[in-house]
């Protein structure tokens, strides 16, 4: 039976309903397997987050592993100020940014990546690929904050509260940033559509 401290009673619904908190409790009482469960649940999402920053599958895998090692060391002192998922994603983002700083000169350009992808696909799907590339290019043009909020929300399916935790802003600001990102994409895509026509 859990006895909650007064501060715990004030936790938001998102934190209180965090499905990973039981695993954290188990880990903090010495259950090593609880961490394996966390890895299975979140390795894919952490890899996707890292992949967006690094644009390399192998580097994203290395950074994901590095992030989990760091999480393993800090999970015993997890303070429950955020959800476990957003805490793990924050570690992944920090590791990716550190990796970028350490390997700045080795990063391939975004244009080269897109060109390789377009060359490798069948001609029948070229239109879809072009649309996808155009949409990704539009996302890449967004201001960093709007892009981060949009990607976390759309590609990682985070709640606005979790997005706000990772973007270091209020939940309302995250919603507003999200709206301006979508609005800007609408404008970019409509301009591109008009140019194609």
């Amino acid at each position: 039976m859990h006895v909650y401290a007064p501060s715990a009673l004030l936790m938001s619904e998102a934190l209180a309903s965090d499905p990973d908190l039981d695993l954290v409790d188990s880990f903090q009482t010495g259950d090593r397997r609880a961490f394996d469960t966390l890895v299975r649940r979140h390795q894919k999402g952490m890899w996707r987050v890292a992949r967006r920053y690094l644009r390399s599958d192998a580097d994203a895998a290395d950074v994901t592993q590095q992030a989990f090692v760091r999480a393993f060391k800090g999970l015993g002192s997890f303070r429950r100020a955020a959800t476990v998922r957003s805490w793990l994603y924050r570690i992944a983002i920090n590791c990716a940014l550190s990796w970028l700083r350490d390997h700045r000169r080795e990063q391939p350009t975004e244009i080269a990546d897109d060109a390789i992808a377009a060359d490798a696909i069948a001609p029948t799907k070229l239109a879809d690929v072009q649309d996808s590339a155009r949409l990704r290019a539009a996302v890449a043009q967004l201001p960093p904050k709007q892009r981060m909020v949009l990607e976390l929300r759309v590609f990682d399916d985070l709640s606005f509260k979790e997005v706000a935790e990772l973007a270091d802003c209020t939940e309302n600001t995250a919603k507003v940033n999200f709206h301006y990102a979508v609005k800007r994409l609408r404008d970019i895509l409509s301009e591109a559509g008009g140019a194609d026509a």
Binding site: R48, A61, K175, K183
Partner: protein
């Protein structure tokens, strides 16, 4: 980051993508004020974004899980108690340091110098032996009678009487001169001693009496009494 203005339009995308995350009031405002065309285009953009194929080729998740497990080991790391303690240790240490600084600045400005002075400079030894109190000189009371000092303490009664007799003679001489002057100018001066007067000491200058101490006065009075008594007997 600056707080952005949040009106109904700014919550439109959040309304489209996650209506459950808006308050009922916000939902109502967006529902009543939103342009249907904007709602549709927003939903369309979000659908296109979610339909994008994932970037890159996903790794072998089982292999990654094994690699992570091998990297972290089998033991749960010991909880580092100081991580939580940092939350209160840092402010406490800052407050303590500030208190020490205030104490040193507020009260220790002169103290170190004073302590150094006491510690370094040895006490100065007296260069001369303390002088014994000077022996009190024997007290002498002098009576000046017409310029002749008469020691009332060191002289015998005869010596005092001789001195007074000499002084009387001197005073008589002076009185003769005054008498001649009086004869000429008839200058009346009752304070001066008349010739043949029994006063041994001239009354014209008695200021010396004020300088006598109690012992001297008593002795003088006794001398005068003793001197006057036989004379009265004789008369």
């Amino acid at each position: 980051m600056a707080q952005m203005r949040s009106d109904d339009d700014e919550l439109l995308s959040a309304y489209v993508d996650g209506v459950a995350e808006l308050t009922p009031a916000e939902r109502e405002r967006v529902r009543t004020g939103a342009d249907p065309a904007s709602l549709a285009s927003t939903r369309d953009v979000l659908d296109q974004l979610r339909a994008l194929p994932p970037e890159g080729d996903e790794p072998d998740w089982a292999a990654m899980e094994r690699a992570i497990g091998a990297a972290v080991g089998d033991r749960v790391p010991a909880k580092r108690w100081w991580r939580g303690a940092v939350l209160w240790l840092v402010p406490a240490a800052a407050v303590a340091a500030a208190g020490i600084a205030i104490a040193v600045i507020g009260h220790g400005g002169d103290a170190p110098e004073a302590r150094d002075h006491v510690a370094i400079v040895p006490p100065v030894a007296p260069t001369t032996a303390p002088q014994p109190p000077e022996a009190a000189e024997p007290h002498h009371s002098f009576v000046y009678v017409d310029g002749q000092p008469i020691d009332l303490d060191g002289a015998t009664e005869e010596q005092i009487l001789d001195g007074l007799a000499k002084a009387k003679l001197t005073a008589d001489d002076g009185d003769d001169d005054d008498k001649a002057k009086d004869a000429k100018g008839k200058d009346d001066d009752d304070d001066d001693a008349a010739p043949g007067d029994d006063n041994l000491i001239g009354t014209a200058n008695l200021a010396w009496v004020d300088h006598l101490d109690t012992g001297g006065l008593d002795k003088l009075e006794q001398v005068l009494v003793d001197h006057a008594a036989p004379k009265r007997k004789g008369t």
